[in-house]
């Protein structure tokens, strides 16, 4: 019986067979009971016509009508209109088509849901990326005695590199930071740090106090696997003195105009968020910084970028590049030249981490007007 349920053709042949048997039996009964044969062309034609009508009717009921209903729903699906599923226990050809349609629409629904979820997450990532972009300064400030240029290029939608400038009374604070990894968690850490720096810059007694406060509040708010290295500079407008506090960041590079050399000074300290109290570990240091000198801050995305063979760019290459360009070009052009060297070194290798480079030149009492373009913080290559 299962065979007849599975095949529409079997059903039709079965019905035709039964009708044939019924007709033949009728003819035999007429011949045996009434003693005459009805094998007449007219009767045969009536019989065939009747069978044909029966087949047409069965075909309409069993095939044409359900198929038409399926096609209507398929057209609705294709044209983006509302469609319905089929509820049937048929397992013949028509049933298979109906179940196939149901399965397709179910998977399509699941896929559409995932697509919508992906789209929603992408939109949220866009928002996070925009928030981060809005936090980072779009241009460097103009500070008496300094020419400042800073450029950044995030690796993912949301980066962990951070930098900012803020002037409080007669001092300008400049910092560069790098949160663990990149992506959303790193972006959140840098956002918290940025907020804390602004919150404590006005009330902290000194640079050291500021970094201790930022660390204490950051540590309470982030997971134990997250941290942020940072270098905070303070430029005193009156004394023309540059000092810094390091929190486990990369070297500070200082280009000395007199010697034409680039020195690497360890930043010291411990990254923000690693310990609850960093006051005994970090310290404020006065930088040897004279007119014509340049201070260079960078994140590890630059020195840890790789070429196609996996080799690192490294601090030595960065120092060499800075020594080469700092004597000839402004901070902005020097950054562009270094960015170009980094791009050439990577030679198409994927950028794995955010890259940020900041150059600050001591210009003494010179008044230097900088264009909007030169102050912009978007990463460009020469």
């Amino acid at each position: 019986m299962n065979f007849f349920r599975r095949s529409f053709a079997a059903k039709v042949f079965g019905i035709l067979f039964l009708l044939g048997v019924f007709l033949a039996s009728g003819l035999l009964v007429v011949k045996n009971v009434y003693g005459y044969s009805v094998i007449d062309t007219t009767w045969i034609l009536y019989g065939l016509a009747g069978l044909f009508l029966v087949v047409i009717f069965i075909f309409w009921i069993q095939v044409s009508r359900p198929l038409k209903a399926i096609i209507v729903q398929m057209e609705a699906l294709i044209t983006g209109h509302e469609y319905k599923k089929f509820f049937t226990d048929r397992i013949d050809e028509v049933g298979v088509i109906a179940h196939f349609f149901n399965e397709i629409t179910r998977n399509l629904h699941k896929f559409t849901g995932k697509l919508a979820e992906g789209e929603r997450m992408a939109n949220e990532l866009d928002v996070a990326s925009k928030i981060q972009r809005d936090i980072l300064p779009v241009e460097a400030p103009q500070v008496p005695g300094l020419i400042i240029s800073a450029k950044t290029r995030p690796a993912a939608e949301v980066g962990g590199d951070s930098f900012d400038f803020l002037t409080v009374k007669n001092a300008t604070y400049m910092y560069i930071g790098d949160a663990t990894g990149h992506g959303v968690p790193a972006g959140i850490v840098m956002t918290i740090v940025n907020t804390l720096v602004y919150a404590y810059a006005e009330t902290s007694q000194n640079l050291l106090d500021l970094m201790v406060n930022v660390n204490r509040h950051l540590k309470k708010r982030i997971q134990k696997t997250l941290f942020m290295s940072m270098l905070m500079l303070k430029w005193d407008h009156l004394t023309k003195q540059m000092s810094f506090v390091g929190a486990g960041h990369e070297y500070i590079l200082v280009y000395k105009a007199k010697s034409g050399l680039c020195e690497a000074i360890p930043s010291g300290g411990i990254a923000l968020g690693m310990v609850e109290d960093n006051s005994k570990i970090i310290k404020e240091v006065v930088l040897p910084f004279e007119e014509g000198d340049m201070v260079i801050l960078y994140t590890d995305g630059i020195v840890e970028c790789r070429d196609m063979s996996g080799q690192l760019f490294g601090v030595e290459r960065l120092k060499t590049a800075i020594a080469k360009y700092a004597s000839q070009y402004s901070p902005e052009l020097s950054i562009q030249k270094v960015a170009s060297d980094v791009g050439t070194f990577m030679n198409g290798h994927q950028q794995d981490d955010d890259m940020t480079l900041m150059m600050i030149k001591h210009v003494g009492d010179q008044k230097v007007e900088q264009s909007k373009l030169s102050l912009a913080t978007a990463w460009t290559e020469a």
Binding site: A179, G181, Q223, F227, S229, P266, I270, A271, D353
Partner: protein, 118 residues
Amino acid sequence: MFESQLNLVVDPYDTAHSSLVIHLQGEFDKIGLTSIRDKLEVALSSFTGKYLVFDIGDLNFINSEGIGYLIGVYTHVVNISGVFCIVGAKAHVQDVFETLGLWNIIKHPASIEACYTI
């Protein structure tokens, strides 16, 4: 294309010293961490001893992802009153730990045996 790789070898638990020694080989970055995370977490979840030692003598590279993970482990071990040690770091890996200021909080004796005197 360059692909980083990290391997992990966990020594049997040393009951004499209540210690577990984990050897890391290769490059400890995001990709490396993903490849060893499950095995490492199985080893760490059952650790209730005193000394947890990471031998990184064969580690060629570590970035902030790897450091972040080690800091997480360090915090866990300190919270259970254990001693977290790192031994055998190569010069350039030492530089990374030095730069981030990790030697201010993490013990880094000259050898595994030296850990047990802390």
